[in-house]
């Protein structure tokens, strides 16, 4: 290595020149020591402060995001709970409307049955047979002693016979009447059964209403807990949201798979409709058209689900009055049906094209087979058409996991943002500490370069070398502030 000519002090001795330069440098650096230390210290302190401040700001933002996340989470949960309670009330209302509407008729029917039963009962009342009056009249005659008089004996025997005959007749009449009453009571049995059946129906309906009211009680308790014990609710809701996010995500992936199959089913025959040579942004127009059809189907499915009040992605649709809403259900279903029919047609065309192409390729390769169409070809065609028709309706149900995914995504995204902000704050603090340490290191390196003048200074002052070395601390105000913050935390 050669020194430039302007750096040479002694001709032919660059080493000596280098030593002279080192001495000059040391002296200059020694003279500049205080302001240089000051500048390095100020620079590192500035960076340290800036980064600590950034870290604090990020932490404050993180806290705000956390609070906002909690608010959103609780608000969503409240909304969902209110919706559930509202639904339960709706069900009770419809149940009461449906069941209690028939109550007057049923009550009338029961009253009629009871009156009829009462009348029947009255008519079946037991009338005791009247004892014959002549029995008492002949009692004294029966006490007459015969004393062997055959005449008296004959008369008494005649009376006995007459009495027995009268008793038999009365007994027969009694039995006949009893049978009649039993028949009447027997005829009441179906009425009793009808009455019991009607009462059972009433009992079932009342039980149903009671069950629903119990469910509402449960929902209301949950709602109260949500309002009272927010921390507990937050924890359970957060974990529930993350679970929902993954489940909904999984179902959506399956749905996307279905949409891809659907796309493959219609993309090729779509070339027959819109041509296969035009491109938009490097995508074939026929592919874009097929994708648009699938997206329109998904949109129709969303509207259908929304109109049926199964999902609540569009509050405007949910707020429509029932008449308009039902019209919307019909319109979206009709569109969906038409699109599904078109898809079935396209699937059929796809099969025709495949067969045509297979025949063409066979003729090109010189292996034109006489029997291209196998006996089971119709199964493939029918399956393709069936899939083309069914898949649009199946895709309708995407709306449900999509809603869950969107709602839970907000929570999961919030959690991820909080974690990212926390990490950034940590990085910022770490960088601040690094620059502070780096400043100290620079000062020490500076002093290392001028160790010789410093050594002389220590000897002149009668001190040890380390005693004249600077002690560097973190900027006081920031450290104090952080300590205060930490103690508060």
């Amino acid at each position: 290595m050669q020194l430039p000519s302007y750096m040479i002090f002694v001709e032919g001795s660059p080493a000596l020149s280098l030593v002279i330069w080192f001495v000059i440098g040391s002296v200059v650096l020694y003279l500049m020591r205080a302001p240089a230390h000051q500048a390095i210290r100020a620079g590192s302190a500035l960076l340290y402060r800036m980064l600590r401040l950034t870290s604090r700001s990020i932490l404050v933002t993180k806290d705000r995001v956390k609070v906002r996340n909690t608010e959103v989470l609780l608000s969503n949960a409240r909304e969902a709970n209110e919706h559930m309670i509202e639904r339960e009330f709706d069900r009770i209302e419809s149940s009461v409307k449906k069941d209690l509407a028939g109550y007057p008729a049923m009550q009338h029917k029961i009253a009629q049955t009871i009156t009829h039963v009462d009348e029947t009962y009255q008519s079946s009342g037991e009338i005791p047979p009247t004892p014959p009056g002549w029995v008492e009249a002949i009692e004294p005659i029966t006490k007459i002693k015969s004393d062997g008089d055959s005449m008296v004996e004959t008369i008494l025997a005649g009376i006995k016979n007459g009495l027995e005959k009268g008793q038999d007749k009365a007994l027969n009449l009694y039995r006949k009447n009893s049978k009649k009453r039993h028949d009447i009571l027997k005829g009441m049995a179906p009425q009793w059964r009808t009455l019991q059946k009607d009462l059972n129906v009433v009992d079932g309906r009342i039980k149903n209403v009671l069950e629903r009211s119990k469910h509402i009680d449960h929902q209301m308790n949950e709602y109260e807990t949500l309002l009272k014990d927010q921390d507990k609710a937050k924890l359970s809701l957060s974990s529930s949201s993350i679970t929902q996010f993954f489940i909904a995500g999984f179902v959506l992936i399956i749905a996307i798979g279905g949409a891809m199959i659907n796309f493959n089913l219609i993309a090729r025959p779509m070339q027959e409709m819109v041509g296969g040579s035009d491109y938009i942004m490097n995508f074939r127009v026929s592919d874009v058209a097929a994708l648009v059809i699938i997206l329109v189907e998904v949109s129709m499915g969303l509207f259908l689900m929304e109109s049926l009040r199964i999902t609540r992605l569009f509050p405007v649709i949910g707020a429509l009055n029932d008449k308009v809403r039902i019209r919307m259900v019909i319109v979206s279903f009709v569109f969906l049906f038409l699109l599904a029919s078109i898809e079935a047609g396209l699937a059929f065309m796809r099969e025709l094209l495949s067969q045509d192409e297979a025949a063409m390729l066979s003729s090109l390769s010189g292996t034109a087979s006489a029997h291209l169409e196998s006996s089971g070809a119709w199964i493939t065609t029918a399956s393709q058409m069936g899939m083309g028709f069914v898949l649009p309706f199946a895709l309708t149900f995407i709306a449900i996991p999509l809603e869950s995914f969107i709602h839970s995504f907000r929570t999961v995204f919030g959690v991820v943002i909080v974690a990212a902000l926390h990490f950034l704050a940590y990085l910022s603090r770490f960088a601040g500490s690094f620059f502070l340490g780096f400043g100290k290191m620079l000062i020490n390196i500076y002093d290392l370069l001028i160790f010789f003048p410093l050594w002389i200074e220590s000897k002149v002052q009668g001190k040890e070398l380390y005693q004249i070395m600077p002690v560097i601390k973190a900027p006081k105000n920031i450290t104090t502030q952080n300590k205060e913050k930490d103690s508060e935390g």
């Binding site: 041509g275 045509d356 192409e357």
Partner: protein, 218 residues
Amino acid sequence: MKVNLFTALLSATLFIAGCSSEAPKDHSKGVYMLIDTSGTYTKELTKAQQVINYTLAKLKANDTFVVASINTGSFSEKNIIAKMTLDDRPSKANQQKRLFKESMDAYVKKVKSSPYTDISGGILQATEYLNEKGHGAKTIFIFSDLKEELKKGYKRDIPFELNGFSVVALNVTKLHSDNVDPRKYMDRMEMWRAKTEENGGTWLVINDLEHLEKILKR
């Protein structure tokens, strides 16, 4: 609302793409195949038929395919045996391919060999035709032994305009003289390679026809 936003974004993207001032990339392909019909090379025509059939199977909507013969004077539209630009619709395109094949089959049956081989004239005709069509990818297949023999008076020392062209020599058979002195074969190949690349084209030789697939891949 997010769903609406997505739909709106998709529509906007498609609309912007549709209205973009930038010229859209042309995905279509033009293939011009020159078939040597001179001398004994006519015996190789069944192989040429295989290449044509293979090419037909690989071509897509809006692609152009032309088959022309190389004979005494190839710089002429009269040398075109069959030509077509495939329709947008696959069913129609299949019909076109069938008709093309039939016309080629008919040609092979009645072909007569020519005494001279004007390859340069054929290439000039191919460049002119494909440039006029303006496809995104332009390929010239030369199905020949690459031995050019011009009739007296024919001038072919004209530079080609092969920018954006791929020139593929197929089934370059070795002549008897090549067997005697292989340098002749090598010199011939080198001459065509240099001629193509100097004029801005890319040069490729495929003797194993199974390797044709990578050429026709988009």
